[in-house]
């Protein structure tokens, strides 16, 4: 672990002397990209972070939203990409653990976990299959042991993640507003380290996450222990109830170095700590190792001497380690001692605030020609093509994944995974809906529009449950920021998200930037993942069973936007074309209309149109409801397009509504009033999924057969290496 040359010079000039070895380790950890956000921080300020529901307090690791009646919801997103690429089971599991502790550190109970997973092409790449299988098991084992439901997420496969893994974890917390930890410190307060013991695992992890992954330098492995995490959750919540916590921070990347210096900096205090007081797993650890160890399941707590006894009793009751490691001072210094000997003494401000970079950016040259389309051979058999798409890893049912997660523990889950977004019941009678979405294929073709698309898709998903979006989490994952072309894609995505967030007044309540995501074959595609949290005041739209003669209506125009679509990339193996763009005005009109229709209880279910386009979205509705449908493509609103474009274009702002035909006039009235483009395109019934164009049958699928393929394609591939079509 080391600092760059100019950073070392800067440190020397700031402290006016040569740093000690421990000081070097602390600063190297804290100034790493992972902890300091030095490349991105300057730009992240553009995102709107305030709103009427947002509660801002110093030192929070998660965003806090007021959901009324004295209750708050907390949210955070993190990734564990580098560790998961090396050890998928432990990496993914400890990723869950980290984000859970961020939720906990605000003083709220974690109530839900979401996972976004991305790997290489599992059809051909055995390593990708191994990573995928083990990451899913890691998440399942950890989340299930904690008794926190994993209620949503997404899984995607793309060549660009060859030999790599993106494991994003988001979590939601819930609690009473009065129980939020108001981070502060008083004179003579003490600093306590609670939880698992400190060992040599994960040494240099944050630095590791800030370098490109070289084949051999893969030392940062962390072993998950969900049972300790569960005990920490209960111990912390009890300590919170008893008012024993003045300030709290979880130990994540950078270990004690970051937790101590960031706490000191955020609270404007100094901390003097003794490494000999830290409970360690091995007896011969050096101060440097103790300071940067990233052993999991640890929390830093500031409390008073009087309250310590009670805190120790709680830790004893839950059988977790608890050691007093330091004192609060008011000199703003991070003072690390080993016994009586000082090993580091630095100003907290210097350690916690790395000099922010202003990196150059340049439009990537590949973008100049990316929108040019190739000519493809005409499709002779759309039914066969459809079966192939339904079996493709990105479109096939993900039930094999979420079926391994306990998504009902805690009995809050009202709408379960497998639909657009899951819904949780809150104690104040309201409901919470959330979803995370990403789309690297479209973000590669147009980083700005692609990122906006992810944001809108996540909004659409929560809107389909009847929820109004109230907050957003952004997770920006890119390659090496020192490459101006990559940094340009980062800035473009960020600007797009900012514009959308401002237009819709959805504040960004939390986020993470993960850079240096590079594989041996190059950078990953730009992969922003956006989480949207929605609130339902009255009743959520729980999908009802569709029956014979029910109607299917589409809201929104289908446009000539096949760039980055599954159809282009999976069927034609073509990367390029024009990616879908969002018209903000239309998007808003559509959201308001859908929410109004759901509020008036006029539909059986709403489903958004995204990956795979209209054809896949309709098939999904049919398969999950076990009913056929006949769709007329000539009725689909939008400019006149070729059949393949109508079927597979992934244009945004489109919703499919299924409802009893007696409600048609009331639905149409609302849509007309809001000047929304819509059309009734089909009717349910029978056992065939059919698409016709000018009364010619284009696609004719046997419902049972299609369902079979869609449901089993993923496990067949992962477990048996068998392609279904």
């Amino acid at each position: 672990m080391s600092l760059e040359e100019q950073e070392l010079a800067e440190l020397k000039s700031k402290i006016g002397r040569d740093p000690t070895s421990t000081e070097l380790q602390i600063v190297a950890a804290e100034w790493s990209e992972h902890c300091s956000y030095k490349s991105s921080k300057r730009h992240l300020k553009m995102l709107p972070m305030d709103g009427p529901l947002v509660i801002n307090e110093k030192g929070y690791d998660s965003g806090v939203l007021d959901v009324g009646d004295g209750y708050v919801v907390t949210a955070h997103i993190e990734s564990h990409n580098h560790p998961s690429a090396v050890e998928p089971y432990g990496g993914a599991a400890t990723g869950v653990g980290g984000v859970i502790r961020d939720i906990l550190s605000a003083g709220t109970r974690p109530i839900a976990i979401f996972d976004g997973l991305r790997f290489g092409d599992i059809e051909t790449d055995l390593q990708a299959r191994w990573l995928f299988k083990n990451a899913v098991t890691g998440i399942a084992d950890y989340g299930n042991c904690l008794g926190i439901p994993t209620i949503g997420g997404e899984v995607e496969f793309d060549e660009c993640y060859k030999n790599y893994a993106l494991v994003d974890v988001a979590a939601l917390g819930f609690g009473k507003k009065e129980n939020l930890i108001k981070n502060h410190a008083k004179k003579d307060d003490i600093v306590v380290l609670m939880g698992g013991s400190t060992g040599r695992d994960g040494i240099g992890g944050s630095q590791f996450a800030s370098d490109s992954l070289e084949s051999e330098d893969r030392s940062a492995v962390q072993i998950p222990d969900p049972f300790i995490e569960k005990l920490i959750i209960e111990a912390v919540l009890q300590a919170r109830n008893d008012g024993l916590i003045h300030a709290m921070k979880d130990l994540g990347g950078g270990g004690l170095s970051c937790a101590i210096s960031e706490t000191a900096d955020a609270l404007d205090i100094g901390i003097e700590m003794d490494v000999d007081k830290v409970h360690t797993r091995e007896s011969d650890m050096t101060p440097d190792e103790i300071m940067v160890s990233e052993s999991q399941e640890r929390m830093l707590i500031v409390t008073s001497k009087i309250k310590l006894k009670k805190l120790e009793e709680i830790c004893k009751k839950f059988r977790i380690g608890c050691s007093v490691i330091g004192l609060v001072k008011f000199d703003n210094q991070v003072h690390i001692k080993k016994g009586e000997k000082t090993v580091a003494n630095l100003s907290a401000d210097v350690v916690a605030n790395a000099t922010l970079l202003d990196l150059p950016s340049k439009e990537p040259s590949y973008l100049k020609t990316i929108e040019d389309e190739q000519k493809f051979k005409p499709i002779s058999d759309y039914s066969a093509l459809m079966m192939k798409l339904l079996a493709s890893p990105n479109i096939a049912s993900k039930i094999w994944v979420y079926g391994q997660y306990d998504h009902e523990v805690g009995i809050r889950t009202v709408v379960k995974p497998g639909t657009d977004a899951s819904v949780l019941r809150l104690d104040n009678g309201k409901y919470l809906s959330a979803k995370i979405d990403g789309n690297p294929k479209q973000c590669y073709i147009n980083p700005r529009e692609g990122a906006i698309g992810c944001f809108e898709e996540a909004c659409r998903n929560v809107v389909c449950t009847g929820a109004k979006p109230i907050g957003m989490l952004d997770h920006l994952q890119f390659g090496n920021p020192k490459d101006p072309e990559i940094f340009w894609t980062f800035l473009e995505s960020l600007k797009g998200l900012t514009d959308f967030a401002k237009f819709f007044k959805i504040p960004c309540v939390g986020g993470k930037v993960s850079l240096y995501n590079e594989t041996p074959t190059g950078s990953i595609k730009p992969t922003p993942v956006i989480g949207v949290i929605g609130l339902i005041d009255k009743k959520p739209s729980v999908p009802q069973k569709i029956s014979q003669d029910d109607c299917l209506l589409i809201i929104g125009d289908t446009k000539n936007e096949l760039g980055g679509s599954e159809y282009f990339e999976y069927i034609h193996k073509f990367v390029g074309g024009k990616c879908p763009t969002v018209n903000f005005e239309d998007s808003k009109k559509h959201m308001t209309s859908v929410l109004d229709i759901i509020d008036k209880n006029l539909i059986k279910s709403a489903h958004d149109c995204s990956k795979g386009g209209l054809a896949v979205a309709v098939s999904e509705i049919c398969m999950t409801n076990q009913i056929g449908c006949k769709v007329s493509l000539d009725k689909v609103p939008g400019e006149k397009l070729d059949v393949d474009r109508i079927l597979f274009s992934e244009s945004h702002s489109r919703y499919l509504l299924s409802f009893d035909k007696k409600n048609i006039s009331m639905i149409e009235e609302i849509l007309k009033k809001n000047k929304v483009s819509f059309e009734q395109i089909g009717q349910f019934g029978g056992n065939q999924i059919q698409f016709t164009n000018a009364s010619k049958l284009i696609i004719d699928l046997d419902l049972k057969k299609a369902h079979e393929i869609w449901l089993h394609a993923l496990p067949n591939l992962v477990l048996h290496g068998k392609k279904s079509v």
Binding site: V86, E87, Y89, G90, W130, G196, S197, G199, R200, D201, R218, V221, I223, P224, D225, F227, I228, R281, E282, S295, R319
Partner: protein, 86 residues
Amino acid sequence: MTIFQVNVTIENKPGISDPEGQTILNDLVLKGTHKTVSNIKTAKMLKFTIQENDKKSAQSKVQEICDELRIYNPMVSIVTIDVFEN
């Protein structure tokens, strides 16, 4: 060709934590009267029965199988291979 019994022990590398072993130590063994125990590590053992020419090729064949099929993750674990003649 001889039949060999090959035992493969898979355990976490030294220095990497072993929650299972620690739990058995702290919550079971040390709760009794067995104060002389200072550490417990868990491991997984696979017992192969294999037909090979000699001890050495039995060992290398099993090592090869474990590496190729990812029976353990070399980033996290180490394997010890013991060969016995049946």
